[in-house]
Symmetry: C3
Subunit: 283 residues, 3 copies
């Protein structure tokens, strides 16, 4: 079987990612597509999906999981409350693997480590009942050089350092903004998301990531994204080590070689490295 | 608009607090009034409520939130399971802001930081279904000198030190007793609450508070309150630094000046300070 | 009243333990008996049960609690979602004591400290509704020399060190495998449980246990049990201090004297101690 030289990863906005492994298997992370204002694809646009990984039951993460799982027959890794939701929407239990913090799985040929994060997870079933559970973070152990960290949503906690020691994530996303364009009638406003811009920098450091993909936005034209980048700059000015930051537009692809080298595919990005090139920020 | 020189805070028993800002806005924290044996006010006794903050769905914290929100039109900050409860009791979703650990909000003109705590949160809806979620702690950032920490219920955890570093709470409550006078037919008895007396002292130290209001009692004539004060004394005897402790009777008011100075309003209290005055303990 | 010289403890497979105190009171921990492939007893085989302690609502821990509580009238210590389950199965609320992390209880004459652990807890009620809550760990403070730690399921977290400082557990179980023989139609497979073999060793060290009973297996002929024992050996080879490890077959009894000395009752085990005897491993 021909292998692509690259793992390909596309950011779909908010915390949704599409991954195509070198052998063609496709993984979707938190596939919130319908209602995601700048997402370039819909739930019926995939010719093949092998695995869907869902961190928690919030609409902007669980998203179109049920429909894609029904269309594709993909396996789903998730928590118990997400399984309840999926089963209520007709997904067979034989497609669903429930996991919990610490557990390491092999599903659809992928090794997936479940990690703790700090957030909530709840939704409502079609019959109106409320379900909740624990939020999950994940590390996809893709090869010896690529360990992809996907926390969904999380606040900052010291055991991120423990995760760095035990699992050595190399690249991953961190939600540092609030998605614009998703209607809400709640009073007041959010000043930060679960990680403030400064906490996002600390999380990136504690997790020991080489490369961070900020996420949980729908456009790079976002005050919290800008505030995060200022915190990155401030940290470097203060002599702190900060991982490489990759700012992706919704729809952008990355190519990652087997040795972990990252090749962006659009001119809107520059990749910072230890030789002093600047973080990309196309605004 | 005339401003009061003071933020006024009244302890209402258990973990309920009433705050009146200098401009007259009223905030209620965990307003458990009906069934709270020594609470001096009822849910219909407020001429104005701007904001209600609910840490978790337990009856002794959620309390009269639904009724007060319906009466007053106040905004409510809470978790998803509390929103489900409030909506089931008729509170419009446009009054409810759901939050999660790490998130910073502005509601009713108040800056409110949501913080992690360690407890549970569950209740039953009118249709008999069970709902649960994560418990929330809060920091009200009232001005540059007053950052009020309100944990609801929590056990001890090391990331309290992280909260101290990131958010520098100045004054706050800590539940160190079990409310007397609330009927239960459960077998056995509670020997401590979620913080043992000694753990309450450690929590106060780790949070870096200047002033601690012990709470989760209905009367100062309480063995766990006495045990907590003995632990405070023991810690000081051992050379440990312990924040100022303010023991309030249900119904007592504090006045807090803009510079953070605290003025008790009743003779039953003395305020300990670094010049050696003693903690108040009116028994 | 005649006292036995020993506390007697029987491992029932997975995470189920039966304890008979010196005065004859019986405690069951996570009594998953029906459907537990190698469990030697059923729910109707106890002449007396005084207390049942349930860590979380998963079938392999909650197990036969409802039936045994109904048969025996035993008190149950558990979380709110387990109470909802038990009440839906007819157990009177007067038999159920709900607890939360940090809380210390006295029930049926036993002092029981509730401790934090990191897992999930959910199940389905007879009417089909989904309930969830926080998982609980416990320390049974049996006497000044025996403090039994029972975490149910947990992943690794740094505050285990805090638990060691505050509560000084002496002996306890740690789930390091996945029970064989329990049917599942979920896709893929589990490579580890919530504690990987190496993490199980670290947890044992951080908790400061003198003696560890690995658990969450149905047979000692288990790859993860073997992997755990290799990690124990590796740690010792590396000069790390590792507690005594006791591998029990489902059905095996331990006798523990009031001074904490442990007397195994079968020839399949040898007890490691500081004088160089080897950990028992009967394969």
């Amino acid at each position: 079987m021909t292998q692509s030289p690259f793992l390909q990863v596309r950011f779909l906005g908010v915390a949704a990612y599409e991954m195509i492994a070198r052998d063609g298997r496709r993984v979707l992370l938190d596939p919130f597509l319908t209602g995601n204002p700048t997402c370039p694809v819909g739930p019926d646009n995939f010719d093949r999906v092998d695995l869907i990984i869902v961190t928690h039951a919030a609409k902007d993460h669980l998203g179109d999981t049920a429909r894609i799982a029904l269309n594709s027959g993909a396996s789903v890794i998730c928590g118990g409350e997400v399984r309840a939701y999926l089963e209520a929407h007709g997904v067979p239990s034989s497609q669903i693997r429930v996991t919990a913090w610490g557990m390491r799985l092999e599903v659809a040929g992928f090794e997936v480590q479940t990690l703790e994060c700090r957030h909530c997870s709840f939704t409502t079933l079609p019959d109106g009942t409320f379900v909740s559970g624990i939020p999950l973070a994940f590390l996809l152990d893709l090869n010896e050089n690529i360990r992809w960290y996907h926390p969904g949503d999380t606040s900052l906690f010291h055991d991120m350092k423990l995760q760095a020691e035990l699992y050595r994530p190399t690249i991953g996303s961190l939600g540092i903004a609030n998605p614009a364009g998703i209607p809400s009638n709640a009073p007041g406003k959010k000043l930060t998301t679960d990680l403030s811009p400064r906490e996002g920098v600390i999380a990136a450091q504690w997790l020991g990531l080489n490369t961070v993909l900020p996420c949980h936005y729908t456009s790079l034209d976002d005050d919290l994204v800008r505030a995060f980048m200022r915190c990155v700059d401030d940290a470097r000015t203060n002599g702190e080590t900060v991982p490489e930051i990759l700012l992706l537009e919704p729809g952008e692809w990355l190519r990652i070689a087997a040795d972990g080298s990252i090749y962006p595919t659009t001119a809107s990005m520059e990749i910072e490295n230890s030789n002093g090139r600047r973080d990309g920020f196309p605004i």
